[in-house]
Subunit: 303 residues, 2 copies
């Protein structure tokens, strides 16, 4: 009946990865002959070629490309299922794979993870940041179990819950004229160097919610990967940046920087936790959401 087995997907993947049957065989702890046989059989059964044989080189056919995509999608899920079962067997709870879609999310997560790890010693936490199909796709595709994101999706089989409110502010250095301003207006940025994380402009809040609506652009746009360096640059007067207020205040002991409100009302942001509804009953997952929620409540009371 069924012809596509796990091995086939593994072979296809290994060949792609190592370039030849022989190399793939090595990695799979088999002989080249073994692979050649199984491949031939598979191709016979399917009635099509998976690779073009060009001389002694294998180039995937259209079907091969398709199979490769299937393999890359399904194999990780099988591997993860096995891992999870192993953990089950050892009395461990499992692992929580958390995906991240924004930089402040990451900063926030750092604060939550350590109390969580302490409360749930049997649970591993994996943090992932790159997804082929974006965070939502990673949730649906079982690449991750929990998504930390600034934009929720109230729909379908996912549940989103707000867990953190913060204000996005402009960060300026010690000599900056805006340092003691009550707030900054978009046009006051038009002569500045703006430092941001390496993210598409459409996904940067300071553009979406502040600059772009006013039709303003900064004089220069500089990209920096890490928060520390970014703050050093700001502290040394080389530019301004946009970060969560709580993060700036936390770092203001280390760097001489100050937060300035974006516009008279400020820019309010939220972070959400999203997960599959079917996972809602997993205790260590619920616990994570609950922990995040209490963190939020605690904070709210003190504000």
């Amino acid at each position: 009946m069924s012809i596509l087995e796990r091995t086939h997907l593994e072979i296809i993947r290994a060949v792609e990865q190592h370039g030849s049957l022989t190399a793939a065989a090595e990695k799979l702890h088999l002989t080249q002959s073994a692979l050649s046989h199984t491949v031939r059989k598979l191709e016979d059964q399917l009635g099509l070629a998976i690779w073009h044989r060009e001389g002694r080189r294998l180039r995937p056919t259209q079907a091969g490309e398709y199979l490769l995509a299937v393999a890359n999608r399904l194999l990780p899920q099988l591997v993860h299922a096995e891992e999870r079962l192993k953990q089950f067997a050892q009395g461990e709870r499992g692992s929580l794979r958390i995906g991240m879609e924004c930089h402040p999310c990451y900063q926030w997560l750092l604060k939550i993870v350590s109390p969580y790890l302490a409360a749930w010693p049997e649970v591993d936490v994996d943090v992932k940041q790159k997804f082929q199909f974006g965070g939502i796709g990673a949730l649906f595709g079982y690449e991750i179990d929990m998504l930390v994101t600034p934009d929720p999706l109230y729909k379908a089989g996912l549940t989103f819950e707000p867990v953190f409110d913060y204000e996005q502010v402009l960060v300026v250095g010690p000599q900056h004229p805006l340092r003691d301003a009550a707030y900054v207006q978009p046009k006051q940025i038009s002569d500045e160097t703006l430092i941001t994380y390496p993210v598409a402009i459409e996904r940067l809040d300071i553009y979406n919610l502040f600059l772009t609506p006013a039709g303003i652009a900064p004089k220069r746009h500089k990209i920096i990967e890490t928060t520390d360096i970014m703050l050093q640059m700001v502290a040394s007067g080389r530019g301004v940046a946009a970060l969560p207020r709580w993060l700036v205040e936390e770092q203001s002991a280390k760097f001489d920087v100050a937060p300035v409100k974006l516009g008279p009302e400020g820019v309010a942001k939220q972070i959400f936790l999203g997960f599959r509804e079917t996972d809602a009953e997993i205790d260590y997952l619920r616990a994570f959401v609950a922990l995040a929620r209490t963190h939020r409540d605690k904070r709210r009371r003190t504000i």
Copy 2:
């Protein structure tokens, strides 16, 4: 290395489906003994039980439930991959699995599908309407390849494109006092029987965009599954319904019904086509979008 094979998933699924090893064995064209062996081996390798043996009954353990979920998620994808490869082999193009999230979507699809089938004889079209995780989830989970929906999602690895604009109108019968009104106001519905498809109220446009904002509810709410019966009910004065204007006009030869604008401005709606970005290069998929788009343009010119 790897222990979880396709067979295992198939066995787990069959046992769940048919209630016993013996019955499952029958369906899989194997003996009960064979299953017993493979199951034992799998459980040994995993180091945990998949079923509680209660007398002669098998009840899934937690691990069993988990494996069942994995099986139900992955096996259909393997089956579909095989089918697609078979089609490849036979020179057919493949199949386009279209998911639907609203009733007008279905009506619209009916008009598009037949020219498409004519233009692409080597492509099968499957239409699905129920999804565990909603349409978006079905797209990400490779249950469908194309989603027809009224609410798009501009994000992640999906592309959405508007392909149809229409006006949602109230449908009334021949004797109805509103028949010749320029438009209807929400309060005029408060004494009516409203007929709708069997869909949650939150997902019905006439509530979302018309009644609920005005704080109005109809006197009665009646649920009917098929458009034809719905129109017969309306024609016989048993209630009013909300449908796309084009659909009402098309059916007005068959049923004595008339469209009435909802509110002075009318209620404008759009239908979108969504698909995975990675599929954008599949010719028969592009062709479907293109066909839908030309349909739209043609219609626009005539309005």
